[in-house]
Amino acid sequence: MNNIGVIGIGNLYRGDDGIGPKLVRKLDEKPFPSNILFFDVGLKEMDILHILKDLDSVLIIDAVNFDGDIGEFRFFGIDEVDSIREITGSHGSNLFKIIELAKELDEAPDEIIMMGIKPGRMELGDEMSDEIVENIDLYLEKIEEKLDEMNFA
């Protein structure tokens, strides 16, 4: 059976930046087949290197700024992104570079899908934008549909 990973990235104490970990924690409480594994990496993006190695496909959930409304979400592949306008991250690292590194080392699955959710407030604190809070059930539903697709592909 293929191992499918769902990874949440972000800072739970920086408003909407924490949406990835928040969703992963909620999903982890639900019953899923044993080949679907959940990882809340928080701010430690580098830890993705250790996770990708053992997966056959992966869904990464993160706050992603794109032209759209707050709370809007998109599933996309890394090759669908034209440019990364600005990236901030721990030690100047960034997610796409870490994935690139894993691919260069031949330690990343072929299928890597991003779920980007457009953030609004990123201030200190765990309060999220209303547009995100009211969509949480929708995000969970869409993730479950995506995981079904990935699992039976």
């Binding site: 930046d17 250790h50 992104v81 034209d82 960034n94 080392l105």
Partner: protein, 435 residues
Amino acid sequence: MKDINIDVKHVTRVEGHGNIIVDAKQGKLDEVLWEVSEAPRYFEAFVKDKPFTQLAQITSRICGICSIGHALTSLRATENAMDIEVSGQDEKLRKLALHGENMQSHVLHVGYLALPDLVGQGSVIPLASSHPEELKKVISLHKLANEISRVTCGRTTHPRRLIPGGFSKLPSPLELEKLKTKLEESVPVLKEVASFVKELSPALPDFERETEFISLTHDDEYAFYGGKIASTDGGITPVDDYLSVTNEYVVPQSTAKYTKNNRESYMVGALARLNNNFDQLTPLAKEVAEDFDLSPVCHNPYMNTIAQLVEVVHSVEDSLQLINELLDKGIEEQGLNYQPDIEPKAGTGVGAVEVPRGILFHEYTYDEEGRCTKANCIIPTNQNHGNIQHDMEKLVPEMIGEKSEDEMELTLEMLVRAYDPCISCSTHYLDVEFR
């Protein structure tokens, strides 16, 4: 001679934001500045009125890299304030947890952040094609370090099991056995990584400036978890008198407080620890240090990266020793979600622990109900800012006329990176444009 204008906004491959500014006209240096634009964090205010049982959890959030170190420093301050005892077994497990974090942070810095400079690359990614096997070894060490944290603290970051008086949950002997096997297997990997770094080390700048090195020291061990404050200028200070060592002050170019002791600045971190406690390194760690001609007192700040590598070796060897001692004695039984029976009392306590970037202090005052009335935290990176500034003031005139502006810029960035500063935690969101 050409004018030089260097203005590096946000040095890369460090945690947080710091700027380098150099202005030189006709070969004469006008200004060199290490600017830190760190936003206040207010943790000392957050913990006011909070019960003693919550402080380690809250302050571990100061840093995503040094969360175990902050939690342990916090616990030591609380335990000192209330005379709470910790068993020998739990102290060993805490030391093991600290080794995990130290190793995790050092491997990240040496392997992912500093190595690219030594191979003339802007990031670690080109190493994946030029040195894939070496990089895989670095990654395996990082993973092992995470495993130490997971086994001891239940997580790789923001530990939940560290509580006043001990642990809420202990690792099982089987988990420790498995960890021991992995640590043993890592020794040859460590040796290979060390010789790979050795090959590249001639690229480290040959720069020296005499300064003071401050770290913890302990009669019985290479100090990480408690001890007294030692200086390479001489003198031992009890941890309770830490303010007489740190002497914080403010400078116009920085929102972070600077510190000084016997001289205009001092350095903390792996090199400071090694300079003060070299003889207490484990045998293989000492061998690696000697291989790099690294011995006390080394005044080349660029060698901090090598001192970190030496400490990774030390952490592996000492972790093996700690696990052997724990397994020999057997792990004591304790209930699920164990909470020691602690009667809070009023008092003040200081905790000092060596975290990856140097000596960390927390001081708390509690009222009779065990609520915090006052807190003070002094982090290692702030203790290094003054030393970075003074290094730059000596280094820049030495480079004028000798190096191009680009070379100067890189050498200065490498200097900042050598200190492995952790300026502040930030958000991590991506900003993309779709095709």
